[in-house]
């Protein structure tokens, strides 16, 4: 028989995780779908389940002394969308995730833990160089979201660890974001792109580009981004085709029931071109 644990303190939760391998349930919007067996039946859990939504100390949205935004594991999209502390670009992304009902249940940390290549929140998190805090009885460690997600549903989490927090550094850029899905709401991303840039004195001070749904994880190439730092806007624009070519090997989408490889690849490049044209 599997067991269910409903800790009310972090300490209690970490102790349970230290003793056993558990599914971790937050809002349930991914896990309850994945384990769904049918109407009137209990979800099909094959190991113990730990529920985190009663750990009140993980319920917060705040900024720390360094100006980082810190979000607890319990916090749902709807709360983030209503918080004045959350950058607008995140809200733009959240608005297009699932549906209002789902956003009243789903947590940001859950989206990270689910590690889907189509996870929309991963784009701004990646672009902002956000970090997750993993807690265990041994202590805390921080990992960049970019590194934390290793592949399709693969994350750098030990069995005894709980993602307790997301840390989002301040990031003063101009943004571009496009999500392409099957329809205008409740749509799973076919391909997406977020770009961020900063221009000072006609020169590129910062350039960041993140793709969604075109590979096993969200794609960001720091090498290419750095290559164009310090270049003039005119040079960037003159080299749009080169840049698109440089990303070619990164864009490795698949064909599935929602779209085709050809479409994803073409649109990813179109979006990149569209973003680069926006840089001014």
């Amino acid at each position: 028989m599997i067991q269910h644990f409903v800790p009310t303190t972090l300490k209690e939760a970490l102790k349970i995780l230290d003793e056993r391998d558990c599914y971790i349930m937050a809002g349930g919007t991914d896990l309850m779908v994945q384990k769904h067996r049918g109407s009137g039946l209990l979800p099909n859990f094959d190991k113990d389940v730990l529920y985190v939504m009663n750990i009140k100390e993980l319920d917060y949205i705040k900024t720390d002394a360094e100006g980082n935004l810190r979000i607890g594991a319990m916090n749902r999209y709807c709360e983030l969308m209503n918080s004045s502390l959350v950058p607008d670009i995140f809200k733009t992304v959240f608005k297009e995730i699932a549906s209002p009902n789902i956003r009243n249940m789903a947590t940001l940390v859950g989206n990270i833990a689910n590690a889907s290549p189509a996870g929309d929140s991963l784009l701004p998190l990646n672009l902002f160089n956000a970090r997750v805090v993993l807690s265990s009885v041994k202590g805390n460690r921080e990992v960049l979201v970019e590194d934390f997600i290793q592949g399709v549903r693969k994350i750098d989490r030990q069995k005894n660890e709980l993602i307790t927090e997301v840390i989002i550094p301040n990031c003063d850029l101009n943004f571009y974001y496009r999500k392409v899905g099957s329809r205008k709401a409740e749509s799973i991303t076919k391909v997406s792109l977020m770009g961020g840039y900063k221009i000072e004195g006609g020169k590129i001070k910062d350039l960041r580009i993140v793709f969604g749904s075109i590979s096993v994880k969200v794609v960001r190439n720091h090498f290419i981004e750095e290559k164009y730092q310090g270049k003039s806007v005119n040079e960037l624009r003159a080299r749009i085709d080169d840049i698109i070519n440089e990303y070619d090997h990164e864009i490795k989408p698949i064909t599935d029931q929602r779209s085709t490889m050809e479409y994803r690849k073409k649109v990813a490049k179109n979006l990149l071109r569209d973003f680069l044209k926006h840089v001014k």
Partner: protein, 698 residues
């Protein structure tokens, strides 16, 4: 805020029960001792079924299969070729080889997963190449085609469409007073009734079908519930316990019937002066593993194949093809949306080919009262199609926009479709096959009760049919009782299908009420059974497809405006304007509901809803992968109905249920063509398809 006024509308009788959550749908019926039935399904698309391995079942669990058939292993659908349980052979993935029935659903599912068919695989066929129904007819003299100076030919395809009624298939069956009682999400109580009688070989009185609230149907609950009923009936005579079979959404999308995919080839034969000598059309539809009702779907597709245009010489043929996939069946429009989509696009493309104005060519061949139909019947009644076009153009500012968007790279377009829909069953089907009889009675207190087998699954017919009787009798509304069908009380007034409810059953209800009124005696019990008598002019030969196909036609115009994002190839529907001739609209609010809902579904079919089968298995099996429109995908839908009372309909009404679906896809596709400057031949026009079009030469 733009608001419609519903001067002719009354309060819908089922409003309060549905809004308050009090309406009892099949799944809401409390019957705790009911067993669960789970279909055990074929994993092969085409194979000999050499045996079935069944594990040792715990007490109270049963495996029901072809061996348990009482009388006939056939589902009573028109063609009668679909078995209740596969026997010796399976013909599609998902075909039921049996049922596991027992008290615990989880256990039933587990046991069902252990049951294994022993198969010897046969070569499956997934393409449209093996015809199992062929039909053809001609009009005029098709030998004149040979004199053509130019021939223009094109091919069009349409995809599967899943009904996505919000309530999945659900059925509950139990035994009460020596009757098998069925409560289910259904369209046609007497189809279920007959299906059970046929497989069990029992009498009419042995079966009772009662209709609970039904959460949408759109054709999807016309035939499939007959299969479920035949399966459960086979089980219940053995087990003698209440049984329920409720489909989860994934099962429903994956294994129940859908709209037929189609491939239509059209050629126009044109003389030196650009006159169309005639057209030749072939419509192919993918019927899936069993014919079921595909021959009738094909009929409707063929009869509608020249849409709203009259040509002197016409050759029409079609085939329904057998493939090793889930059988296709009824869905709003029943074949005609497929062929009309093709012809509406074709005639526009033909105009381009002939270098003449699109609208001019269409108007030149536009059907008029007195024209001969493609089946050599007669368009008897006044046709106000031109008025419908003018009104829709005015509402949408069409003429201005069509010019404005014709400049290159506007990525915006507007399209106009015209269409018709024949109301009621094809030809003499109403008089010869259905033979509707409507029972109406009055008690000593002068309270009138009438019965129909029509199901209100959202269309509002419970309200409108009652209103027809109330207004005809001229008595207060609360003196008339009209409940959902119960086959113990109701005589069959036919299925809830084919846009026949108002034009046929409504007419019959008015006639019955008139009859009662004429013999009315205060304070006396009176009862009448009124039989349907079709208009005498209807002469139809099914074998040759000649004559008057329908008692009457409803007409419509849709205008759709779209924009296309050249970066992502996504489409935004910017506006929709529609005009309809449904005869006289008895209740405008109900007609508007049909208008909006039909068009929304049509747009879904045109560009959002993609369902493809790979090796006989559907790839889109959930509501996230099979995307129907959300509230954000649709614009404001503007509709007007023009009055054109129909002589033979109740209060002048014709049908409206299916008509509103027919024109959405071609109007959308024409708008899309203008936006991207390419010709469209296939739907759904997904962004993936639009990308291909935009990146290739025509």
């Amino acid at each position: 805020m733009k608001m419609k006024k519903f001067d002719t509308s009354v309060k819908k009788v089922d409003n309060e029960e549905k809004m308050s959550g009090r309406a009892i749908f099949t799944g809401d019926i409390q019957m705790d001792d009911a067993y669960f039935a789970i279909q055990v399904r074929s994993e092969k698309a085409h194979a000999k079924l050499k045996g079935i391995y069944v594990p040792k079942l715990p007490k109270d669990y049963y495996f029901i299969s072809a061996k348990d058939i009482v009388k006939e292993n056939v589902v009573n659908i028109i063609a009668s070729d679909w078995p209740v349980f596969a026997d010796k052979k399976v013909n599609y993935i998902g075909e039921a080889i049996g049922l596991i029935v027992g008290p615990d659903k989880g256990m039933c599912m587990y046991l069902a997963s252990l049951v294994k068919g022993e198969y010897e695989e046969l070569e499956p066929v997934f393409e449209m190449k093996n015809s199992y129904v062929h039909k053809e007819f001609t009009k005029g003299d098709v030998s004149k085609f040979k004199s053509a100076k130019k021939v223009f030919s094109e091919e069009f395809t349409t995809g599967y469409q899943e009904q996505v009624y919000l309530e999945p298939q659900a059925m509950l069956m139990y035994i009460q007073n020596d009757q098998i009682v069925v409560k289910a999400s259904m369209q046609c109580p007497f189809y279920i009734h007959k299906a059970i009688m046929r497989t069990l070989g029992c009498k009419e009185k042995d079966v009772r079908v009662i209709q609970p609230a039904v959460g949408g149907a759109f054709g999807g609950k016309e035939h499939y519930p007959s299969l479920m009923a035949a399966q459960l009936a086979t089980a219940i005579v053995k087990i003698k316990k209440p049984i329920k079979m409720f489909f989860d959404r994934k099962e429903d999308i994956t294994y129940t019937t859908k709209r037929h995919p189609s491939k239509t080839e059209i050629s126009a034969y044109v003389d030196a002066k650009n006159n169309i000598i005639g057209v030749k059309i072939h419509v192919g539809i993918d019927g899936g593993a069993y014919v079921g009702c595909s021959m009738v779907v094909l009929s409707r597709a063929l009869i509608a194949a020249t849409n709203t245009y009259t040509f002197e010489n016409v050759s029409v043929s079609g085939d329904a093809y057998c493939t090793n996939k889930v059988p296709s069946a009824a869905f709003r429009g029943f074949g005609s949306p497929q062929s009309i989509f093709a012809f509406e696009l074709f005639i526009n493309h033909l105009a381009d080919y002939l270098k003449v104005d699109r609208m001019e060519l269409r108007m030149k061949y536009l059907v008029k009262q007195g024209d001969i139909t493609s089946t050599s019947g007669l368009f008897r009644d006044p046709i106000i199609l031109k008025e419908l076009v003018d009104k829709a153009m005015e509402m949408s500012d069409y003429k201005h926009k069509v010019k404005l968007y014709s400049k290159e790279k506007s990525y915006r377009g507007i399209g106009l479709s015209m269409f018709l829909h024949g109301c009621g069953f094809t030809g003499s089907g109403e008089s010869d096959l259905i033979k509707a009889q409507l029972r109406i009675k009055k008690d000593k207190n002068d309270i009138v009760t009438f019965y129909t087998s029509q199901v209100d699954f959202g269309q509002g017919n419970r309200t409108t049919l009652k209103r027809i009787v109330v207004d005809t009798l001229g008595i207060p509304e609360d003196h008339v009782i009209y409940d959902a069908p119960d086959t113990n009380e109701t005589l069959s007034t036919g299925p809830t299908a084919a846009s026949r409810t108002i034009i046929i059953v409504g007419g019959l209800a008015a006639k019955a009420a008139q009859h009662l009124k004429s013999i009315w005696k205060d304070g006396e019990e009176q009862e009448i059974v009124e039989p349907y008598v079709g208009p005498a002019y209807i002469k139809w030969d099914e074998a040759t497809m000649q004559g008057d196909a329908y008692p009457g036609y409803a007409w419509g115009v849709n205008i759709v405006e779209v924009s296309v994002d050249p970066v992502t190839y996504e489409v935004n529907v910017e506006g929709c304007w529609s005009t309809y001739d449904v005869g006289h609209a008895i209740d405008e609010r109900i007609i508007m509901g049909q208008a909006d809902g039909g068009l929304a579904q049509a747009l879904g079919w045109a560009y959002l809803e993609k369902e493809v089968a790979e090796n006989g298995m559907f790839k889109q099996r959930t509501m996230s992968d099979y995307a129907i429109p959300t509230s954000m995908d649709l614009p404001v839908l503007e509709t007007e109905v023009l009055d054109n009372p129909f002589k033979y309909g109740a209060f002048g009404a014709k049908g409206a249920g299916e008509l509103t679906f027919v024109g959405g896809a071609p109007a959308f596709a024409l708008a899309l063509e203008q936006a991207i400057g390419k010709k469209v031949h296939d739907i759904p026009a997904t962004p993936e398809y639009i990308m291909e079009l935009m990146n290739h030469e025509n």
